[in-house]
């Protein structure tokens, strides 16, 4: 495999947008292209992420339209990826695989989502479509519900009183909002406290409103290129060190929701390919769609033993200047979660961190960063380790 790098990144502000999916993606994509010191005509393929365009705007087959918005060459194929919340990470991984294999030299990857057009009831319904339609959906399962069941299982398995676990889960939300308060592109840029989280309306017991990430609009994109070309084009290319992706089926086959099988397989691939391990990672953007999700991920990556990460945020170990900085962007929780774009936004944060461009939320001396994106009810996990 050839060495592969990210040349440039771009993302819109996340939040509630009046812009269309295509307009947002055009902004993010053109920023990534401009930052890479190339032109749209240099792009050889577009790996485009979008999950729910059919419901948001009545738009399927969005990839060729995104391609036209950016003025990409007709000979550069545009392909849509859909892997629920892991969409843009999966798209980027496949871009890096094909550049590594020598099929292309320069590929644009990323995604866009305009979830807020749907309103909460329809958004909740369509997000739940990423659960199994015959054997799970008819029970009325929702995404908060899936992670709520994981939280109850975690409390029971490790003998942690639910009230205590919830305080520490609230600590995750407080920490990520603190990080997000320093990110001008975050959906929420406001600090909160534990009492705010514990006073929120119940969404799916035991998850309350502030345990949950928001529905967001936004787009993000990255330019993936062969490393030899990267050095000629930009001052600080950021290199792919290792990647992983794995799949697991419906919840009833996964059984123990405290151990994310797809994530354990995916990170093992990424550690193995990169020759790196948990001690080598300086900064992490991981899939904190719900507060409990961050706790589970910390254990999957072996930053903590199983059953031991639940109070990491409360102890300040995962905040800026902590032992291992988790979600300096604010994470999905505070930065927002436009599902088709999320992975590319996580990559954008890690690239900027490794270039030393993150301003007040810069992780000092960060050289190796990990991206983690989880799709559906633990069905897809994709990990990308980047290095400067």
């Amino acid at each position: 495999m050839r060495q592969v790098a990210i040349l440039g990144v771009g993302m819109t502000k996340f939040g509630i947008s009046e812009k269309t999916n295509l307009e947002m993606f055009a902004e993010a994509g053109l920023d990534a292209i401009t930052q890479s010191n190339i032109e749209p005509k240099d792009i050889e393929a577009l790996y485009f992420g979008n999950c729910l365009g059919g419901f948001e705007e009545g738009q399927l087959h969005m990839a060729p339209f995104a391609h036209s918005e950016l003025g990409l060459p007709v000979a550069a194929p545009a392909t849509r990826f859909e892997a629920a919340c892991a969409t843009a990470t999966v798209a980027t991984r496949h871009a890096a695989l094909l550049v590594g294999a020598g099929v292309y030299d320069v590929v644009l990857a990323g995604g866009t989502e305009r979830a807020t057009t749907m309103g909460t009831p329809l958004a909740t319904r369509t997000f739940a479509m990423a659960s199994q339609a015959q054997y799970e959906c008819p029970a009325g399962i929702t995404f908060p519900g899936v992670f709520a069941m994981a939280a109850h299982m975690y409390a029971n398995k490790y003998g942690i009183p639910l009230k205590e676990l919830k305080r520490h889960m609230a600590g995750v939300a407080v920490k990520n909002h603190y990080h997000g308060s320093m990110n001008p592109k975050a959906h929420f840029q406001k600090e909160i406290d534990v009492e705010t989280v514990l006073g929120g309306m119940m969404v799916a017991d035991p998850l309350q409103l502030f345990d949950c990430c928001p529905f967001s609009d936004g787009a993000a994109a990255v330019v993936v290129a062969e490393a030899g070309r990267a050095k000629d084009l930009v001052k600080k290319p950021i290199y792919f060190a290792g990647m992983g992706q794995a799949s697991a089926g419906p919840l009833n086959l996964q059984q123990d929701l405290t151990r994310i099988r797809a994530r354990e397989a995916s990170i093992s691939q990424a550690y193995s390919e990169s020759g790196l391990g948990p001690d080598d990672i300086d900064v992490v953007e991981l899939h904190d769609c719900f507060t409990i999700a961050e706790i589970l991920a910390l254990e999957s990556f072996r930053f903590y033993d199983f059953g031991k990460a639940y109070d990491a945020a409360t102890r300040g170990e995962t905040a800026l200047k902590g032992k291992i900085v988790i979600n300096p962007s604010g994470g999905l929780k505070s930065k927002g979660h436009p599902i088709g774009a999320t992975g590319a936004a996580q990559l954008t944060e890690i690239v900027e961190q490794l270039r030393g461009e993150s301003g007040p939320r810069q992780v000092e001396g960060a050289r190796v960063g990990l991206v983690d994106t989880l799709g559906g009810d633990f069905g897809t996990v994709c990990n990308i380790i980047l290095r400067s």
Binding site: Q134, M149, H152, L162, P250, L257
Partner: protein, 134 residues
């Protein structure tokens, strides 16, 4: 290869209070609800079998913000069957506001109920329900 136990056949079973699963002729594992192959060994030599309908509740949640078309609050739970397979469904016969951690590890009996289809689904279907065994 013909699909051994289709969703439609499984649903007809639920309607008659018969819970059909697939027993693997190679490793003896029970797959429930059905899949194309054995959930343990991947083997396709399967026979349709009736399960006991008894299990243990492993986790649950109370849905309070529901998808369009569903009426909250209601309880979603995961149950481990006597035969080892797990299944997701609705815990019924309790007040959702009374649901707490003490439910975990309680013994339950399987049943089923009809869920109305919506614009996006393939029509009405039956979902597995769980009732606490006193």
């Amino acid at each position: 290869m013909e699909y051994k136990l289709t969703f439609d056949q499984y649903q007809q079973g639920l309607e008659q209070e018969e819970f059909s699963g697939l027993q693997c002729n190679a490793c003896n594992t029970l797959t429930f609800p059905p899949l194309g192959v054995c959930r343990n060994c991947g083997g396709a030599d399967l026979k349709v079998t009736r399960i006991s309908g008894n299990g243990t509740l492993r986790t649950f949640t109370v849905i309070r913000v529901a998808p369009e078309g569903m009426k909250p609050p209601y309880v979603v739970a995961m149950v481990e069957l006597e035969e080892g397979a797990w299944v997701t469904g609705n815990l019924v016969g309790i007040d959702p506001d009374e649901a707490d951690m003490s439910l975990i590890e309680k013994k339950v009996k399987l049943g089923s109920q009809v869920v109305k289809g919506d614009t996006y689904s393939a029509g009405d279907s039956r979902v597995v329900t769980f009732s606490l065994i006193e």
